[in-house]
Symmetry: C2
């Protein structure tokens, strides 16, 4: 929040409000004395800041009735942050599914909705499906559109770093060159930010997932597509063109180095080698090749997917195990450059394929450490399918904190 000139009494009042509010937000409810301890401010300063925060609707006063002492003297006043003073919306737009989470200003979800959107065959249909999902999630939460203070959206593709424009998004039909923020601003009266989905996933994991105390974290999305979100010293690293972490285009497996950079489906060499589609294709080929009708991979009448390749391997199916071993060895070949370049505190593996679980992670760790220097810890995503939407909430909350709440 701005407006007051630096050094003026108004600016000082705002700084004090920000300190007090920050202390109050860290707890469920605080006494004035506790605020004094945390902030180092005097009681009269705190009382006056609290009055202003109360007038602005950011805090509530509760009367405390300690057990066995009710009725004796004046009750101590407890202060709580009015997390219901506003709401944020996090949206995760994927090739197959759109997820929407509505949360209060503590980031606590009040409604979560996921809808299959694979049927949308152009940008208008997909945008329509996104708008309908947002509408229904808000209706479910009982939150009015006017109470929404900030919206953040995760989308696949390269997002222009300053203009919230989708530059490339091969996995979504007609999505390239879309000004997604502008399209969605029509549905809201508050700011709408657009961010690459994997970037939001790493924000989500750093906030409420597997990486709460790490400084440099990389989140690798391992699904149909492969990409990385990079978080360095408290900031997303987006790159000069918003294209940092585009691992899918790595060419590390073809000795000639002459493979096509982007194929007709928009896939790069690395995702063509280790993505969900590649795993299924390898599984089908392995079962055909062996002609083994008892293989888990050749279950008649059932479409093979990556999950079944992994479960068959876990159950001891030899053909499936060979496929999984090959895929893990290939994945390690692409993760090694990422680790040699960045040397992060933590590498998180997420995305659909990562659901194959801990056995796959352990095998991957072995392969990756063979190809790198310092034994970077590898972990599975703690937030799973929700990482992108939770990261979107975090981005929207940061916007509210910087723009709406009293802040330093």
């Amino acid at each position: 929040m701005s407006g007051a000139s630096p050094g003026s009494p108004a600016a000082l009042r705002q700084i004090n409000q920000a300190h007090v509010l920050s202390a109050v937000r860290r707890s469920e409810a605080l006494r004035l004395g506790e605020i004094a301890e945390t902030t180092g401010l005097s009681r009269p300063t705190i009382a006056s800041a609290l009055d202003e925060l109360h007038d602005a609707g950011w805090v509530d006063f509760l009367d405390e009735h300690p057990k066995g002492r009710s009725g004796l003297g004046r009750p101590a006043r407890l202060v709580r942050f009015r997390a219901e003073a506003g709401y944020v919306v996090g949206i995760d737009i994927g090739a197959h599914r759109t997820g929407v989470v509505v949360a209060d200003l503590n980031g606590t979800p009040v409604a979560t909705l996921k809808r299959g959107t694979a049927g949308a065959y152009d940008r208008h249909q997909l945008l329509g499906a996104v708008r309908a999902t947002v509408h229904d999630a808000l209706a479910q939460s009982g939150v009015g559109r006017n109470a929404v203070m900030s919206v953040a959206v995760g989308s696949p593709g390269i997002i222009h770093p300053t203009e919230s424009m989708v530059v490339q998004a091969p996995s979504l039909p007609g999505w390239a060159s879309l000004n997604l923020a502008k399209e969605l601003r029509r549905s809201f009266r508050c700011p709408v930010q657009v961010e690459n989905d994997v970037n939001l996933a790493v924000l989500g994991e750093c906030w409420r997932g597997a990486a709460k105390s790490a400084r440099t974290v990389v989140f690798v999305l391992w699904g149909e597509r492969v990409g990385a979100g990079i978080y360095i010293d408290g900031q997303l690293h987006r790159g000069a063109s918003g294209a940092a972490g585009e691992l899918g285009y790595l060419s590390v497996l073809d000795p000639s180095g002459k493979e096509v950079l982007v194929d007709e489906r928009g896939l790069g060499p690395f995702e063509r080698a280790v993505g969900a589609g590649a795993i299924v294709a390898m599984g089908k080929q392995a079962s055909r090749h062996r002609g083994d009708s008892k293989s888990e991979l050749a279950r008649p009448g059932e479409e093979l997917d990556a999950a079944r390749v992994f479960s068959a391997a876990a159950a001891g199916d030899r053909a499936a195990r060979q496929v999984v071993d090959t895929v893990i060895a290939h994945l390690a070949r692409g993760l090694a450059p990422l680790l040699l370049v960045l040397d992060p505190d933590l590498l998180i593996i997420g995305g659909g394929v990562s659901r194959a679980g801990k056995a796959v992670l352990d095998a991957l760790r072995l392969q990756v450490h063979r190809l790198t220097l310092v034994g970077t810890p590898l972990e599975l995503s703690a937030l799973g399918d929700d990482a992108v939407a939770i990261g979107a909430l975090r981005l929207a909350l940061t916007d509210v904190e910087q723009r709406v709440l009293p802040s330093l």
Copy 2:
């Protein structure tokens, strides 16, 4: 500089001194009125800050005698920063050579000395040679050891991010596990910082070289060894273990992915493929293979080096051209992952082999852009051999600015 409690009159005086000094340091000499314009401070505040800065030895007053007006009225006072109030030393320790630069507090070199140190066969000899070079550079500059306010040293190898300890340094005998900062502190009465040499090179290029206005810059050292220094939003990115940018260990050319990570010389797969040694070996093999005694590569009685392979290629020698083409194609295979991960504003190619010049850079750019998405600009190092020592000066100056000079 610290000491005064925040908000106190002493702290305010220090802030004003810092503002005034910062303005004075940006020019050769300033009038009081010009300082008022730059800082927005009142003339009495500036005058008092200047008196304090003068007492502390940071500024000098000069009398201005404008042409044709000398003798008329009181001359205006000009203020200049006393860059000679202290000195910094930048040291570049390499496998073959040690460089020392002594500079004043403007970063202007007052002495530069380079010595071949390839003869040193253990850490004691090399440390002795470094100390002797520092001694002679100081003698040459006329700067006393007591006037040195900060020292920064660049060394090959992985440097522990907090303890200034050399963790690994395969190119220097006995250098691993050396507490280099502690060793050199015995020679100085001021702080000594140790940093990876390529990290200093990128600092140098961002300060006085090819990357003065870029936000994210990668400097790739291309010599016997291959490594990258990474600079993101005004900060070095060192990595969790100080091992960020260790490109030499990339395995992107062997289809099996089973090559040795570190060979008996301490070299990784990528530097074994594109380093100076590999270029010479390929050149020798090419000349033998063709049995072409007229080839530039087979000049009798002369030891082949990488520079001669490149110059022969430039002169049209076919065998040499084939070697250069292969090496450039291989180098691009390792630079592509770096660019896909980081998406920097600028990639700078430095190190011995980069002296091959612009033709090689143009060919490399073509190959790299074929393997990446966004056409990152590639440039040659502007500082050449001096990049590490100049980066060391920058690191030492930053220490002086934060610790000794009045600062915010």
